[in-house]
């Protein structure tokens, strides 16, 4: 369990559906093998139609989120309009590359709805953007969640199905990872609303 990305642990996953997107994260905040709290926030609402999920070193999760919150607030004030999800996705990539030689130890996932069309982008810790996939994972439990996603995912699901599938994938994946789990939250974003659901998971 050495490695700066494994110090706090945690997993995130994002999925696209039909005119909707979903994000899910676990809630553990730990220090190596010890669990400190079980209610740490890892998914942030940047704007009404943009969600940012972060996994990795918790201090950088918080700092990077604060940086993005600042950027979007300044953008709103300067341009007097909302930021498009594709623009924000690019912003995240630039912000990460700005710290190319002293990076934030985070792996973000950005999800949003642009004119009803779902956007999902994922990055490595220095800003390589990848936005062509239907689902993406991040964090220490990522690889296990991939397996569950491949099994359960199908394209163009409606919000209820998507919520079910992403929740199951997160829970199954985190159950195999010692450093993730201790609760789960699922966020489903449609044109009309954002639904936030707390999952009842293993607390062990």
């Amino acid at each position: 369990m050495s490695g700066i990305f494994e110090y706090n642990g945690g997993s995130i996953v994002g999925m696209k559906g039909k005119n909707c997107i979903a994000m899910a994260c676990d809630r553990r905040f730990g220090q190596q093998m010890s669990t400190i709290t079980t209610n740490y926030q890892k998914v942030f609402k940047i704007q009404d139609n943009i969600l940012l999920a972060l996994s990795g070193l918790n201090t950088d999760i918080h700092t990077f989120y604060a940086l993005m919150e600042k950027e979007i607030n300044l953008y709103n004030l300067k341009e007097n309009r909302k930021m498009k999800p594709t623009t924000f996705a690019n912003l995240v990539a630039s912000a990460l590359y700005e710290r190319r030689f002293g990076p934030f130890f985070v792996t973000p996932i950005v999800a949003g709805l642009e004119n009803g069309k779902p956007i999902l982008a994922t990055y490595d810790s220095i800003g390589c953007k990848s936005d062509l996939d239907d689902f993406q994972v991040g964090g220490t439990g990522g690889n296990y969640i991939y397996g569950a996603c491949e099994a359960f995912f199908k394209p163009d699901m409606n919000p209820e199905e998507l919520e079910e599938v992403i929740g199951q994938s997160l829970v199954s994946g985190c159950d195999r990872d010692a450093l993730s789990g201790w609760g789960g939250v699922v966020y489903v974003l449609t044109e009309q609303k954002l639904t936030v659901k707390i999952l009842k998971t293993k607390q062990t």
Binding site: M1, M33, L51, R176, A178, Y187, K200, Q203, T204
Partner: protein, 275 residues
């Protein structure tokens, strides 16, 4: 580096380079090595270099009380941060009157406890009486001392009953053998000790002891990532041992205990911000 006077150690001779033709009684080290011994890790020389040792990712506990001995263990096996199994059996049934708990290398524990079982049976046949717990644990200690420094990883408890009563011993791969009333071994042992030390009384009834063992393991599984799965509980009494619980899911225990306190148990009692 601490300076000391060699003569104060009562040594007959100290090794000098030019003395290599003479017979030396003892070679003196240039600086004393500081050796840390912990109950749930290998002997670390000069402070060691890791705070957490994943070879002992587990929680096992045992304690002596008026009705005998209670053993409680978790059932998780992890390889680094990957959970390889949630259904491992960490109490090894050596024979009808001896039990061993497993912590550290599963292969090492399984093999040497089976070897011990063989030895106990041979003794019984040759001598017409059962091997005492003290002797069985001593035999195992002897084996482990022989394999010292060869990389065996075992932190096990031997508990059993013989003509003198029920006894609990802790044995580890360094060759340590301790007789005691309360032991907890593994990465989650610190959490288990907190609960155990708080409520332990020798005069507990069997039900109270089982409840305490379950609770202590549950608390360790909640906080320690390398412990989890199910709780298995064994009771050792004058007629041998009984399996009290074969596997209580700690997830169920979590929500049960939370409900008893009037909480939901989702870890979010403070209702933190969600987005």
């Amino acid at each position: 580096m601490i300076d000391f006077d060699p003569s104060s150690f009562g040594l007959a001779h100290t090794y000098q380079k030019e003395d290599k033709d003479e017979i030396n009684t003892l070679a003196l080290p240039s600086a004393p090595q500081v050796i840390y011994k912990t109950l749930n890790g290998p002997t670390q020389v000069n402070g060691g270099n890791k705070l957490n040792n994943f070879k002992h990712g587990t929680t096992t506990l045992g304690f002596v009380f008026k009705e005998g001995i209670l053993l409680a263990v978790d059932s998780r096996a992890s390889m680094g941060s990957f959970l390889s199994s949630e259904q491992v059996r960490k109490v090894i049934e050596i024979n009808e009157y001896l039990l061993g708990t497993m912590a550290g290398g599963a292969a090492d524990c399984q093999y040497w406890l089976a070897y011990l079982a063989n030895h106990c049976r041979t003794y019984e046949l040759k001598n017409g009486s059962k091997l005492s717990v003290a002797a069985a644990s001593k035999f195992l200690q002897g084996i482990l001392i022989g394999y010292r420094n060869s990389g065996l990883s075992m932190g096990c408890m031997i508990a059993g009953t013989d003509t003198t009563g029920q006894h609990l011993y802790y044995i580890d791969n360094d060759g340590m053998r301790l007789k005691g009333d309360i032991f907890s071994v593994g990465s989650g042992s610190t959490y288990a000790y907190g609960v155990l030390d708080n409520h332990y009384r020798y005069e507990m009834s069997l039900n109270e002891a089982v409840e305490l063992g379950i609770r202590a393991i549950y608390h360790a599984t909640h906080r320690d990532t390398a412990s989890g799965g199910v709780v298995r509980v064994y009771h050792i009494h004058q007629n041998g041992w009984t399996k009290v619980h074969d596997g209580i899911d700690v997830v169920d225990l979590h929500y049960q205990f939370a409900q008893q306190k009037g909480l939901v148990g989702d870890g979010d009692e403070a209702k933190q911000r969600l987005f």
